[in-house]
């Protein structure tokens, strides 16, 4: 697409009332409606701002990367949690975040089926630790927005009986709203869409007391990368696909805005990045192995901004290794928003001008630390 065409396209879209400009981007007027108050110490950024624990093990995957070694994953999880909290005993580390009385949601990511999803082994190990702390299985919810995606990944056989598998909608068709909270939402007019509300998943606002977020290391066509922030935010609200339209994305400001809505912000207490496998292009999908890589890592923290800031460098480095354009590339020449197939074929094609700056924007909302020199990454190699 010609730059002139793109600029004209941008200019043609009338600004919604109350919208502001920031760094050449439109920041819509957001109306946040929530009856929930923030906790005295909100879960994000939590007790460990600016801290990322990175546990690596070459043995976590088979040599070809296709099989996960559950025993190694268990050890990685134990080491990571102890390192994050400074506790000597595994369960004491988990008790820093969870009590037996909690109702715990585990936010998984199923969009990268089959290769890059929240892995069965990490989710199962999380559940095992929650139960060891004393949380009853019927007070544990493994959740995602879309049931069809959950069915594909199929966690149930890997979890103890009684653990709830929960999806807010049958599939992404925008007809199924009963599991969203009609009184907790963010209202914004992005492109003149009729439905201007995104409602929080009812489970989050009305049932859960704590949330553990398990995203993946993934490239994303709209946000540049999708990690902690986008998984918890776009996976916790309805009607979010409306933020991308004809090559333009409002994810820059919307991801952080959603993540900061109470009670999501207060209740999301732990971030576990499943980086055993990752996808460096074509994300959030990973239908083939074409763009899949194998970091063999699991990260731990409470600060989603810090973890996602580190994530940018990992995905960017992998793209660079393959000679692909940067996720920061905003050249309209690379844009082909009418054909996702071209994006899948060519890592130098964007379908949307990506907005990795959404992570810095979230930092401004107080969700975490963005400056890379203030982020402490502690690495453990098993």
């Amino acid at each position: 697409m010609e730059r002139r065409t793109f600029v004209r396209l941008m200019a043609a879209a009338p600004l919604a009332p109350g919208a502001l400009m920031e760094r050449g981007r439109v920041i819509p007027r957001y109306r946040v409606v929530s009856g929930y108050k923030a906790a005295a110490a909100p879960g994000m950024p939590g007790p460990y701002p600016g801290t990322v624990i990175n546990v690596r093990s070459a043995a976590s995957l088979s040599e070809d990367g296709l099989k996960i070694n559950a025993g190694v994953v268990r050890e990685m999880m134990a080491r990571g949690m102890r390192e994050l909290t400074g506790e000597k005993a595994d369960l004491d580390a988990w008790r820093r975040f969870i009590t037996p009385d909690d109702v715990v949601g585990i936010k998984v990511n199923c969009g990268g089926h089959p290769w890059v999803v929240s892995s069965h082994d990490i989710v199962a190990e999380t559940v095992r630790n929650l139960m060891a702390v004393g949380v009853r299985p019927n007070r544990i919810y493994v959740y995602e927005r879309f049931e069809n995606q959950m069915r594909e990944v199929n966690y149930a056989p890997h979890l103890p009986e009684g653990v709830n598998i929960y999806a807010a909608e049958r599939e992404n068709r925008h007809v199924d709203h009963l599991n969203y909270d009609p009184t907790t939402y963010v209202e914004a007019d992005f492109f003149g869409e009729d439905d201007t509300r995104s409602n929080m998943v009812r489970l989050i606002s009305q049932t859960l007391t704590k949330i553990i977020n398990i995203p993946n290391i993934k490239d994303h066509g709209a946000t540049g990368v999708t990690g902690c922030l986008k998984n918890i935010a776009y996976g916790g609200f309805s009607n979010v696909a409306r933020t991308h339209y004809k090559g333009v994305s409002h994810t820059y400001s919307f991801v952080g805005t959603l993540a900061a809505v109470e009670p999501m912000r207060s209740r999301t207490v732990l971030q576990i990045m499943d980086g055993l496998r990752g996808v460096w292009h074509g994300g959030p999908f990973a239908r083939t192995l074409k763009y899949v890589f194998f970091p063999r890592q699991i990260w731990f923290g409470t600060d989603p901004v810090a973890m996602d800031r580190v994530l940018i460098d990992v995905v960017e480095a992998e793209r660079k290794r393959h000679g692909a354009i940067s996720i920061w590339n905003r050249d309209p020449q690379t844009l082909d928003f009418n054909n996702g197939g071209n994006r899948d074929q060519d890592p130098n094609t964007n379908i949307i001008i990506r907005e990795p700056g959404h992570i810095e924007f979230a930092a401004k909302l107080g969700l975490g630390v963005h400056e890379i020199d203030k982020i402490k990454v502690r690495e453990i190699v098993l």
């Binding site: 009338p14 925008h174 007809v175 709203h177 992005f190 492109f191 003149g192 439905d195 201007t196 379908i351």
Partner: protein
């Protein structure tokens, strides 16, 4: 001479029937000319099958039916209530679109807004018009519901297999309470010049649930009076009716709109009020059931509201909230049509032309 006689007969029968289809609504005829829901009209099936189908017609509950003039006597002989329609009469009627989702203009669109063929704008524009629809299999029920919502004189040529579905729609609408004379609520006026361009503007406004009243001249009642070709609304802008509708919406301001719908872009609304009550009718143009549709009605009261949904019966609106001068509630589930009635809570003249609408009892 003969056609003239038939016209007289048709008119007489129509007048007779309109009184029975939406029983209990008695309002001045003049109001009907402004689109008020006060002179009930009815859709009817135009049936070209043979008289041997009389039992099906009777069982379907769609009487009276309209039939070709040459068949009328036979049908009457079979004991079926019919309206005789001459070919010329049929051809003189305005053709309607088959209501449906006609496709998605841009599959990459984040707005999910599909292209919808609907007739509401035309029914608002010409409430006294006489219409004719030729409906392929599976499309008659929605067309019938659309005509019932707007109370227009529509003859529907349907596929025989759709007879029972249409009968179900008629039965459902007959079962709804008749809340008295109500006037459509509007937030703006469109100055009518009879042109296709203005018609397309009306179409897009209807599809965006931007409530308008067609007027011959601007009215001080409305902050926004759209006269296409004026300095404020150049005719060239209407070349992109969708953008034009968006401009109007933003001029109006979402928070000042009488009606907002959250959870679908395939549901169009008919919002009426008067005498202290409101009635909202929602038509879903998709084939999908919608669960948890959220509605915001400016000026409405949420207490005591009642609702009915085609296929589900009466229900209570869920999660009601009264705030900022508006009522909000959720429709737990709806397929093709839902109606909500309740009391108004506003003195805004949009809701009943300045009458005192809220009285404590």
């Amino acid at each position: 001479m003969r056609p003239r006689v038939e016209k007289v007969v048709i008119f007489a029968v129509l007048v007779l029937l309109t009184g029975s289809f939406f029983a209990g609504r008695e309002v001045p005829r003049a109001a009907a000319e402004t689109g008020a829901e006060s002179a009930p009209r009815f859709p009817a099936i135009y049936w070209t099958e043979g008289v041997e189908t009389a039992d099906r017609i009777r069982r379907a509950g769609v009487e009276p039916i309209a039939v070709p003039a040459e068949n009328a006597a036979g049908w009457r002989g079979a004991g079926i209530k019919v309206v005789s329609v001459a070919k010329a009469e049929l051809e003189s009627r305005r053709k309607t679109l088959v209501p449906r989702i006609a496709g998605r203009g841009n599959v990459a669109s984040a707005t999910r807004r599909p292209w919808i063929d609907a007739n509401g704008w035309m029914y608002i524009r010409r409430p006294s018009g006489r219409y004719f629809a030729e409906l392929p299999a599976g499309r008659a029920a929605l067309a019938a519901a659309e005509a019932c919502v707007y109370q227009v004189d529509l003859l529907m040529k349907i596929e025989p297999g759709d007879l029972e579905a249409v009968g179900g729609v008629f039965s459902y609408f007959r079962s709804l309470p008749s809340g008295g004379a109500l006037t459509p609520v509007a937030d703006l006026a469109v100055i009518e010049d009879g042109s296709d361009e203005v018609g397309e503007v009306m179409n897009l406004l209807t599809r965006r649930n931007l409530l308008f009243e067609p007027l011959a001249r601007p009215s001080a009642k409305y902050r926004i009076n759209i006269r296409l070709g004026s300095k404020a609304y150049p005719a060239a802008e209407a070349a992109d009716p969708s953008e034009f509708a968006l401009k109007i919406r933003r001029q109006l301001g979402d928070e000042k709109r009488s009606l907002r719908i959250y959870g679908s872009e395939t549901v169009f609304a008919r919002y009426s009020a008067g005498g202290g009550v409101f009635r909202l009718q929602l038509l879903n143009y998709s084939n999908s059931q919608i669960d948890g549709l959220r509605v915001r009605l400016l000026g409405a009261g949420v207490a005591g509201a009642r609702a009915w949904a085609h296929g589900f019966g009466e229900f209570a609106p869920e999660t009601p909230v009264q705030a900022d001068g508006a009522a909000e509630f959720s429709i737990p589930r709806m397929k093709m049509h839902t109606m909500i009635e309740g009391r108004l809570a506003s003195l805004d003249r949009r809701f009943g032309h300045g009458r005192t609408l809220h009285r404590d009892r």
